[in-house]
Amino acid sequence: MSVARTLVRESLDHPALLDRVVDDADLAGAGVNSGELIKLALRLEDHLGRPLGDEELLGLTSVNAVAELLQNGAD
């Protein structure tokens, strides 16, 4: 499993939800709630070792978007 997918999975109250979500699907539309998205953002901050900016936070909409942030977002 990709790092992005693992980070998303670890942020979910019910990790099995991610089994239903393909990488380019909208996370909120697939049933991921706002609290889980917040947890994901905090996990990403820990992973990257820096705060996320507004645009980065707004862009966390899919597993692919998380992967892109991980790829391009490290300082």
Binding site: D13, H14, A16, L17, D19, R20, A28, A30, G31, V32, N33, S34, G35, E36, I38, K39, A41, L42, E45, D46, R50, P51, L52, D54, L57
Partner: protein, 520 residues
Amino acid sequence: MWLTHVLRRGLDHDPDALALRDSRRDVSWRQLDRDVRALASLLRRDATAGSRVLVLSGNRVEVLETYIACAAAGLVAVPVNPALTDPELTRIVDSVEPSAAMADDAGLARVSALYPDLPRTDLGSVAELASSAEDAAQDAAQEAARSAASGDGEHWGGSLTEPVMILHTSATTGRAKGVVVDQRSLQANALSWLADVRPEPGTPFLNAGPLFHGSVVIALDHLAAAGTVCVLDRFTPQGALAALEKWKIEHAFLVPSMVRLVLEAKSLATTDVSALRLLLHGAAPMPEALAREARDKLGAELQTIFGITEGGGPVLTLRPNTVVGEPPVPGAVCIGVPMLGAGLRITDRQGNDVAEGAIGELHVAGDGLMQGYWKNTEAAAEVLRDGWLNTHDLGCFDTYGRVWVVDRRNDLILRGGQNVYPAEIEHVLRQSPHVADVVVVPLASELWGQTPVAFVQPVSPEQFDEAELLGLCVAELAAYKRPSHFLPLDVVPRNPSGKALRAPLRDRAHQLITEREQTT
């Protein structure tokens, strides 16, 4: 008349001072007055007094403007959580039969798909609407202004006892209940707030919660103080911290989960939160260790608020720096004393007042109480009796007359400040042909306070299908109501009258999830 009075007072105090702000707009009291008049005129055009106006939107200043415009025009605003699924949304809309909808882009798309004939207006167009209304009908605007100055027009402002909002709550029956709020309730709450929280004119207040929620009255309370209500589009810890710094926020209301997340955000270390003087918290118990950490890291005083939507919002408060000592019952949380104008009784099951230290049910009274539930007199009669509202919270008085909450009598689950009733989830899961019985109980969560856990008794053991249960919940329930775990059960334990025995299942959920976490 209450909300238009608030508007009038703000205008009189300083028309150029900020009333509202969000990431898109700063709205002065003068602009707020223009927007409200334009909106009220638009909404009243095709509606009769008392008609409902659906409000389907994320947070933005125009949502608050719509509430005030509805009050001014004698209409009833019905805000709905945009996270609800289509089945949840349509049940509410079909019940309130709105004459119009005010919505953001996403809401407009849903309204046009689900209710193509319902007149709808883009909340993003309000400022433009006010501007063109002013250009096209300056005479009428001047007349309206004269009318307002001379004591207001025939319909302007509505009466104190007219419904002004219907706020929907999760329900014991499995269907949302609409709490009918009148202007007297908003007035009573604002006067309590001014006395017990004491915002001042111009005090910047951060509204981080959703504006469809019962806590929206707190934003209206700050407007009553001629304060500035700063609206977050949606809560994120990073966004809240940025707002605290950028808008020099002095008062904020957060639920404990939000406080914990703010304290965990990396940007806290580099954010200037020195303007923050008072952090109000409510909707769930605040752990003492978290309160201490918040005081240390945010440098603000903390004030506890205990409220209930059916009671008109906040009804009890524990002022900052009140030393309360040890709880009279292990695990109890102090929620202070009734706010100005609110009454409180703690009674036994027979309705008799209990002695100090004895545990009973909390009942509240005052002008803030709801008128009832929309089209549901039976449910209202179950909680309202002789002017007292049964909150179903269990608590006791200490020797100083302060109130401590111990537990809840009904099955409400408080997940990150949002109410979830097990019946709503159980109703959805029973739709599966593979489910023979189901019981949902709360599981303690360090971050969210509680999450729902579903115990499912399948028709036969091999028919327990977690993926199917999850799919049903995703399709039928807003995401925050989705159980965090589905657990198979041979037989749901019930007492002789058929009532599910939830207490042992709570313990079993805790045990099973702890074991599961230890093995992963």
